[in-house]
Structures are given as C-alpha cells and as structure tokens.
Amino acid sequence: MFDVIVVGAGPAGSMAAKTCAENGLKVLLIEKRQEIGTPVRCAEGISKQGLKRFVEIDRKWIAAEVIGAKIYAPDGTEITMAEEMAGNEVGFVLERKIFDRHLARLAAKAGAEVIVKTAFISFERRDGRLKVKMRRMGEEWEVETKILIGADGVESKVGRMAGIIRTLRKSEIESCAQYLMSNVEIDENYTYFYLGNELAPGGYAWIFPKGNKCANVGIGVLPSKAKANAKYYLDKFIEKFGIEGKIVELVCGAVPVYGEIETAVSDNIMLAGDAAYHSDPITGGGIANALCAGYYAGKVAYEAVKKNDFSAGFLRKYDELWKSDFGWKLRRNKKLQEFFLKLDDQTLNSLAKSISGRNIKEMSVQAIIVELLKSNPHLVDLIKNLLI
C-alpha cells in the first residue's frame, strides 16, 4: 500500500510527488504516456518569479529569457510592458520536454516511484482507503493508497470521477493550436500577444521566442465564440501578419478558463494543476499555479498521513493554501475575462490607445488594469462592482 498515488507527471504531479517523497511518504507517480513531457501542450512562457519559488533554475530547460511583453489591439495599437534595466529578465520560455522530465527526475531522486505508460482507470473507496485501478503497460493493475492526488491535467478523470469538478463547458476552455517555427524575425526580448474578436474569438494569438530565431506561434480560441477550429484561426493569423518561417512542430491542446473551483478535495483525494482548473482565465498560464498547487498538495498529504486523517475535512487545508496563494486571482481574473469578452474590437482599440506609450513596468494583468483605470475613470465603478 502507498501513502500517496499521484496521477500525471506534469508540473503539478511531479511537484506533488517530490514534496511527498521529501517528507518521507511512500509515493507512486504514474504517467500514462511512455515519454514524460511529450507531446508538448504548451507555449512554455512563465514568469521568473513563478518558477523560482519552487524550482532551482537550470539552463538546460530555459529556451529563452524575455524582459517584457507587447500586446496588440485589433488595429495594431501597441502596449509595452517591460523591465527597462538589462539583467532584469522577468520571464522565461521553457523547453517543456526537458523541464517536465527534469521535475519527474527530481521526484524520483527524492524517493518517489515513477512509472510511465501507466494510466489511471478508476478508484473505489474501501475502509477509509482507496483501491486504485490502473492499466500498466497494457495490463490491469490494482493498488491501495491512503491518498490519491489527481494531477491528470485538463482531461481530469480523477476529479470528475470523484465528483469534485464538473466537466468544462464550451465557454470554459480555450482550444489551442501552435506551431514551433524557425526563421522568425522578431525582437527576442519580448513575448507578443494579439487581441481581436475576428483574429482570436474569446482568446488571443501569441508569439513566444525560443531562441535561435525559433518561436512558438500559437492561438487560443473560445469554442463558444469561435466559428471554426483553432488551427484555422492560427493559419489566418500567420497569413495576416506575414509571419514567415518554417513550421517544425505542431502543438495542440486545451486550457481550462473556469476560474476558482469551490473545493479541490474530497475524502482521500486532492486535485492539483489543470485537473483543478488552476490555469488563469485571462492569460491561460498554468505552469506556475500547477507547481504551487502540487507543492501544497504534497505538504497536506504529509500532514494527513501523520495525523492518519484522510477526510475531506482535513484535506480542506489544501484548499485554504492554494486559494489564498492564487485562487483569489483566478476568481478575479474570471470576472475580468467575462468583462473583456463583451468588448468589441473598437472598444479594445480605444482602451489600448488610452494606455499605449505608457511606461508599464510590471508584467501582470493587474498592472494593465491599473493603467486602464487611470486613463478611463468611467471604468472605475464598473470594475469595482465587478470585483466585489
């Protein structure tokens, strides 16, 4: 019997397994794919801060460093957010194929058992424990555990089977397509975001530099608003902006843009990362929150084992931790997302114009909102009401 079984070796799962193992728990990390980290489902951008909190930086999986971001309104109006001082890189573009494996290895090194090509199928509660059914290299396999951590990403089988979360609706998920392109001519010091209801309904297009003139060129659209699939919009975007370069990889995926769930636990079970819809409703970023949630889930698993209490009541400690760390931000950004989704291109253009050329030093949603409010006093009450 294990203390903890972690499902999914993405950032959330590996961080959870590592934390459990470091605290002396007997932990099993299962990943259904045969290779951890591939195929990639990510644009790989993360703030330096979000990463440094939980992982020691290793150049092996840093593809590029950026000093800021440029956002483009539908009419091309540019908003720049940047650290002006050299050496103040605020963001990284990762090489997730290597990063995810690195994290899984850290978990293994800390003492976790890691098994690939092994999928979670179902669980059964018995005498305060869980019987977990898996498919391991094609064979059925059953193991008992005290705690199950669902870090199985957007597919989120554990959470839905446990009744912790409900299935995402068309308006709660971004459908994404991306090319890794070579020979892309951009200033590699920035990440680029493109807005517009025609261009990317309910989402945005992006260009993230990966060094050596390579870049992730991608798009996310909200299926409830989009008239065609993400790849269609991506090809249109590339055509419209005349982005030249060779496509050397295709990446697809989906990101939850749900907002904050009420609880990420039930008896014996905790969810972390995309499985708990922990990605940001505005940016779609989820790596940093996944790392953070995985860490907290591991910590609370340790306390639960120590106290021999696996009830939802006890595991709510985990809810308290992730909610006060970043859950409130998901809640706020969901409301802001709903507000932005209602704006037509003309309004987006004029809002962008009102703050274009400003010196926005911080790369965050909050920094943009603050600037917008400074220049558009009529929005103050609106946003205030929204956020109460």
Binding site: P39, A119, T167, I173, P223, K231, G253, A254
Partner: protein, 60 residues
C-alpha cells in the same frame, strides 16, 4: 437516427481537448490513440472544441 462522434486520425493531434469536455466519459486518449466508446450520444461538443477539426458526427 442516432449520431456518434468519429475521429479522423490523420488530423487528430492527440491533445485531449475533446476528452476534457465530454460529460459522458465517451472519449479516452490512450497515449496518441483516441478511443471513442459507446457512451457517445452525439452531443457534438467535442467536435466544436477540437483544435484540428479532426472530429465529426456520423449517423449510426
């Protein structure tokens, strides 16, 4: 006539977007192979969410 989702494997990028929105556990991504089981009731949300346009409905 009942309808059911089918996948064009040449287009499928095995990303799991469809799995995320299926309320009936009708879809499962076995590594790079998308399986569609008899739970599918042809609701079509997966068709709408697929980034590649790899899913469609057929009459069965």
């Amino acid at each position: 006539m009942a309808r059911k989702a089918v996948v064009n494997r040449g287009k499928c990028a095995y990303c799991g977007a469809c799995v995320a929105v299926c309320d009936f556990f009708a879809l499962e991504l076995v590594e790079t192979y998308l399986e569609i089981n008899e739970n599918c009731n042809g609701c079509s949300i997966c068709v709408k969410v697929c980034p590649m346009g790899a899913l469609s409905l057929v009459e069965v």
